[in-house]
Symmetry: C2
Subunit: 266 residues, 2 copies
């Protein structure tokens, strides 16, 4: 069998019922597509969840950054390309490129994944899996022009803006709150009126701890920080998400996020 | 150009991040696929949203029933077949069949759609669109073996079990709360522990009124009704969903639902 190429390419359609009021794909659905592409790519090459589950290990998403020039519109067909840029003992970096059928670029993503033992929940050596199979697929030269996620600094100015409960539909196959559900709940902090006037440009999310159905999620947000970009003004917010497992226990941080909006919708 | 067949057939994959804790496709995502299939089918044949929007009309989902023998599992490839069973002046009935690559049947769906004028929001004559084009695609002989939705009788025993707020991610391209979001919020009334012991067999939902972002949704549920099916015992619940537009206004009914669970997970 010929070895698969390092870069995987998976077709998707911006299905109309996955699009927001403005006819553009919801960022949550795009995030889902990236995660699915990562899953297909790693399974096809022998180091995905399907194999890992047989040896009591699994991938855990640690960080995700998505930066979009433009979101796919309803009925657009597009591809998610994904490749592993680097693999170390405890972390691997995987990049994404979202391109249209005419090869025009919608945007890019970067992610960091860890591998854990599903019984101990402790990090496990990625390079020990199938004699370091993943290292045969490292692609360092394909361009991912967006910045790496930097640690989100959470200053003291964050204030509680919402608390929500979590339910059956929030939980994924791992039994935890789905990584993308945090993104949806996060983006729900802004209302329709806001999205009429602002376009989401970039999203960074660092997953600090797992949460489970029934946990309450609390969203703490900075007041708007204005940052002047090179060409256009952008508005930047930091959000800390905590979980309340039970009323008598202290809140535990589960995610740190940064959201950047452009001032006008393109 | 050759006329398209009456029955459309669209491929989908049960993407792993669209699956629940048990590795089965979420009913909400399946519902989305049915609606997308309906959209593709009607657009391809010239009486879909894409054409209707140019003449200030749109399709509105009035009823949806889904009855599943089995849900697709993660990575399963399947097809949604859809066809129009009948078209009258103000309503059309559209059916669905969900089949695997090996043609084994997962389940079926039935839906009723109305057409409205997007400016007046009033029902408009379906048969007046393109000289009754839809009637050229009526398929009466293809089997849809599930019962039609009957009017859900809501007795006095319903009690308020949850109220939730609606946000940006709940709203679809029509600017209303997405039909499938009601299904997700509805199915969230039962917790993970319930879904470990029960399988969703059938869902009926009648859409009575539209709701908008910011409306509060209130869920009223009957105590469990036990109904003995022909072969297995089933548990049946009725749920009424109302909206609260503002605290000083009376609640308005938006959906009536019936949910049937099988006693054990197959």
């Amino acid at each position: 069998m010929d070895k698969l190429p390092k870069i995987g390419r998976y077709p998707f359609t911006a299905e109309p019922f996955h699009c927001d009021f403005s006819g553009k794909l919801f960022m949550g659905h795009l995030g889902n597509h990236l995660l699915n592409a990562a899953d297909f790519h790693s399974n096809d090459r022998g180091y995905g969840m399907n194999y890992l589950n047989t040896v009591r290990k699994t991938w855990v998403l640690s960080r995700l950054a998505i930066e979009m020039e433009e979101m796919p519109k309803a009925y657009d067909k597009f591809f998610v390309e994904t490749w592993v840029e680097g693999a170390m003992r405890y972390f691997t970096s995987r990049n994404y490129k979202v391109v249209g059928e005419d090869e025009h670029v919608y945007g890019h993503g970067r992610s960091i994944w860890a591998m854990i033992d599903t019984e101990t929940r402790q990090p496990t050596d990625i390079l020990a899996v199938r004699d370091g199979l993943i290292t045969e697929y490292i692609e360092k030269d394909y361009l991912c022009p967006i910045e790496k996620s930097s640690r989100v600094r959470m200053d003291d100015k964050v204030v509680l803006v919402r608390s929500i409960d979590t339910f059956y539909n929030d939980v994924d196959m791992n039994g935890h709150i789905n990584s993308v559900k945090y993104i949806e709940h996060l983006l729900d902090l802004w209302d329709l009126e806001w999205y009429r006037r602002h376009a989401l440009r970039r999203l960074d999310i660092a997953y600090v701890a797992e949460s489970h159905q029934g946990n309450q999620l609390n969203f703490y947000r900075t007041p708007q920080c204005e940052a002047v970009g090179e060409e256009t003004e952008t508005l930047e917010y930091c959000v800390k998400i905590t979980k309340t497992v039970s009323p008598e226990l202290e809140e535990i941080e589960v995610c740190r996020c940064k959201v950047v909006f452009g001032e006008s919708v393109r």
